[in-house]
Assembly symmetry: C3
Homo-oligomer: 154 residues x 3
């Protein structure tokens, strides 16, 4: 089976440099066969690529891209956690999706699909995850989306 990195490349993407946490915590922990990745923002080239809120100027396409980029940052941390080998991921167990939006916004699922669709494109059946998506008042640094993840690794 083609590697995750080859699939990324075919999509014109690559695993970004992992972002160092902005505070006194770590980006990932492996506990037994569970790999926890801290909530990741849509960072690109050292800054938040998509800011603002759905319902207040941000389009669904932009929010979808925010989730996609946040998931790439999740992957960057997962790769680091796995000593550089994403092939150690046996299953994407859960994604948590946090979407910054106004109270009247209702299409959170479409935004979070930016992360979920990429996840399944890359990992195939092993990428079919559970997820919880909610709309939040605001996110750190005015990010449009934040994605956290739980993986099963071997």
């Amino acid at each position: 089976m083609e590697s995750i990195e080859a699939r990324l490349k075919a999509l014109g993407l690559q695993v970004p440099e992992p972002v160092a946490p902005v505070a006194n915590y770590v980006p990932f922990i492996i506990a037994g066969s569970l790999l926890f990745v801290s909530g990741q923002l849509p960072m690109r080239d050292g800054q938040i690529a998509v800011t603002g809120k759905l319902g207040a100027g941000v389009t669904i396409a932009e929010a979808r891209e925010a989730c996609r980029i946040a998931f790439l940052n999740v992957l960057a941390q997962a790769k680091l956690a796995c000593g550089g080998d994403l092939g150690r991921i046996a299953r994407v167990v859960r994604l948590g999706g946090f979407i910054a939006c106004t109270p009247d916004f209702t299409q959170h699922a479409l935004a979070m699909n930016g992360a979920s669709d990429l996840c399944v494109e890359l990992f195939g059946e092993a990428g079919r995850h559970t997820r919880t998506t909610i709309g939040v008042a605001s996110l750190p640094a005015d990010a449009t989306a934040e994605v956290e993840a739980l993986f099963l690794v071997h």
Copy 2:
């Protein structure tokens, strides 16, 4: 001990048909002895039964009912995950409760009790779960509540 389904019946309830995810993810994953269920909305007969926000028209009784229905949808997924046998659930480990409300709302716990009370009514001691309840700006499809769950299964 009486089965979960018999207890549901005694309450005039039944496990609904599991709702198919609206996007590229799955409603549950069993990883080892942990069963993760994706965030469920208060779906009944193919539509969201309770919409709107606490503090903006929705009553606590209605939000309590929203949490109760969302938990029934969690059960539907758990039953499917367990091959139809809810008796495989050894413990309800954690419920996450997301309550759509205005910023001035403070009684989230009362709403989420709709899920927690039913959980304990059905599972007894094994249903006594940890939980985290928060108020959110909005939820997918304008739902009033969303409930996610983690179970221990055997």
Copy 3:
């Protein structure tokens, strides 16, 4: 190595009395080697010590203190779960931080550091946790912050 309680004392702190849940759930569950602690509010002496929202009157220093107190309440539950011995905690795996704020607030990380910094001060390397911090519309009882936790115990 100095005990957690000795370190707390050196900081002029102590583990508070564990707060009984306000509803039909439990404050902690140990499942295998995982200890789940329900979302804790910044309770002190039987009441919420810090209420209100960032961006609407609450300062970052106050919110930082709210997170710190909420984490002390997490510790209280963890101690009870461990039969009084915090030395059974092998690793702080994950903290979830929920910060009540207005939509325009962006410095959630600074608030949540109140919990994370204390965690690392107390547990050292074993206290370096993953975390997800989000801004929420409101929290139970108008609390400024809520912190949930996952520990690895032996």
